[in-house]
Amino acid sequence: MQKEAAIREPLILGHKSYHDITEDVCRPIEDKAPKMWYVLFGIALVIGLYGIGCILYLLGTGVGVWGLNKTIGWAWDITNFVWWVGIGHAGTLISAVLLLFRQKWRMAINRSAEAMTIFAVFMAGLFPLIHMGRLWVGYWVMPIPNQFGSLWVNFNSPLLWDVFAISTYLSVSVVFWYIGLIPDFATIRDRARKPISKKMYSILAFGWSGRAKHWNRFELVSLVLAGLATPLVFSVHSIVSFDFATSVIPGWHTTIFPPYFVAGAVFSGFAMVQTLLLIMRKAMNLEAYIHTKHVEYMNIVIMVTGSIVGTAYITELFISWYSGVEYEAYAFINRATGPYWWAYAAMMTCNVVSPQLMWFRKLRRSLLFTFFISIVVNIGMWFERYVIIVTSLHRDYLPSSWSMHYPSPIDIGVYIGTIGLFFVFFLLFARFFPVLALNEIKSILKGSGQSYKESPDYYKNH
């Protein structure tokens, strides 16, 4: 048992026992779902189904139904792809990087953040797949000879690196998440009374025992997976940025892209975690486990990564002038003052100015303000990708090819639909899965709980 300095704020509020933790986490799963859950689920499902409808229409008609044109061949789809992948970076960062740094506050948020990651990467993966036009030959991205002749996929292409990066990231995240879930499923299995749920959770729990040897292996596997997932997190968004950085389009062709994209991804991911958790803790009565201190820690991460992103924007702007390349300089002047100035302004305000407000302790500990900023950051990060992608393309080298991008209703429908589908998945997760890593939380109760903080001898007498 690691003891923590008493002056640090407790991570678990209230005088909880081990059993209380089990109760608090399992009750929302065992009780009937509140009416609000059905309402939210219904709304998300309708939006998600509308999105699926749009996708089917797209597949049946062709990519022409998007607002793309000859100059702007990449717009909403890839913006949404990068946006969702970015959001999908917080979960594994929280569970892997913070595990390596022994940050105990991660235990309250890692489970739901990882779930968010997985669902966000699902949504991200959808976009390149539907962009292929012929979804059913999507498996051609695998290293099989083209047309089953002898021409292989191109291993020099960042788009293929993306295939490997995203599929590795998704599958490793799922494994990491599930390995952690097994002991918690066992807890639910051992409490379940209804035969169907008992059966379901015993299948999911894989017969977990809680033996000393199994815990020994569990801890090592978690540690090694964290060690593997940490460079993975950084590599995935670096590779996503290579999609742009290895091209020769002014505005894309920059070496700053990988670190800048990774920081942006963590930034947007944490914002989405805040948006989801601030609602979830209230709805599921988990205020004792996810409280102001956790929110403050996440806000500090948002502030730091937001500052990195801001620095990157300004560096990019400066270098475009300093490089002396006219095309590069024009790309940036056009971004800031051209027809898409409003998108650039939105990106700058949401991503550079708003996280700086987190320097004020009062603001970063205010839940309402945090919720507001998290939405602002989500919007800002969407605009960042839109600005990078569309403004770099719409003014071609040939002025006769200059054009604008206007999203079609299908563009918007597919995007909104993925948000709906994401919430369908997340609501199902919140309903049937333990949303806190309850067994991990128990292991920090004696060192970081309020009872210990108030009287270090508390657990000696109990």
């Binding site: 081990y18 299995r189 000393a212 593997l228």
Partner: protein
């Protein structure tokens, strides 16, 4: 005398650990413990050796790296050397930089999945397996110590006396 398994239940991880220390110092062999979360420091007391799954992860990773290298060398250099933008693929070494990302990703993929599968197989935890814990409360807030009389040379009565001093809350004996 038939062989017995004694399950001693505690309601605190600290009490179980102190009890285990006491019993082991008296020469009692503790077969296993069951707990809702890892009890840090119990492994050396009851003689659980550190897992070697880390080595497995390394070996799986190495396999992945090798496969990626062999594969990409065959696809891109030997079988069909693509000429991309006038930069033909002559040898693996000359083009190694563009093979780094996939080599890395594939290494991680093999290491992670290989280790996870080995972990599940070694634990005998697979979908639909029956629960292995002796009491359902051990996944909630109770801690159980398993002692097998067959592994101990101490008389059962003597054992009972020793266990009594450890502050347990329940005891359960099963004949096997």
């Amino acid at each position: 005398m038939s062989d017995k398994v004694i399950y001693v239940m505690y309601d605190d991880d600290g009490v179980l650990k102190d009890g285990a220390k006491k019993l082991v110092s008296k020469g009692v062999k503790i077969a296993d413990t069951f707990s809702p979360f890892p009890i840090h420091g119990i492994d050396p007391i009851i003689g659980v050796k550190n897992t070697r799954l880390g080595i497995m992860a390394f070996l799986f990773g190495l396999t992945g790296l090798t496969l990626a290298t062999i594969g990409m060398r065959f696809f891109m250099i030997e079988d069909w050397p693509m000429n991309i933008g006038g930069k033909p693929s002559f040898s693996y070494l000359e083009n190694i930089l563009s093979f780094v990302p996939i080599s890395f990703e594939f290494t991680v993929m093999c290491a992670a999945h290989g280790m996870a599968i080995t972990y599940l197989l070694k634990n005998k935890t697979l979908p639909g397996m029956p629960a292995q814990n002796p009491d359902p409360r051990t996944t909630d807030d109770k801690f159980v110590m398993e002692i097998r009389t067959a592994e101990n040379s101490i008389e059962e009565k003597e054992l009972d006396k020793l266990i009594k001093d450890t502050g347990f809350i329940e005891i359960d004996k099963k004949t096997i």
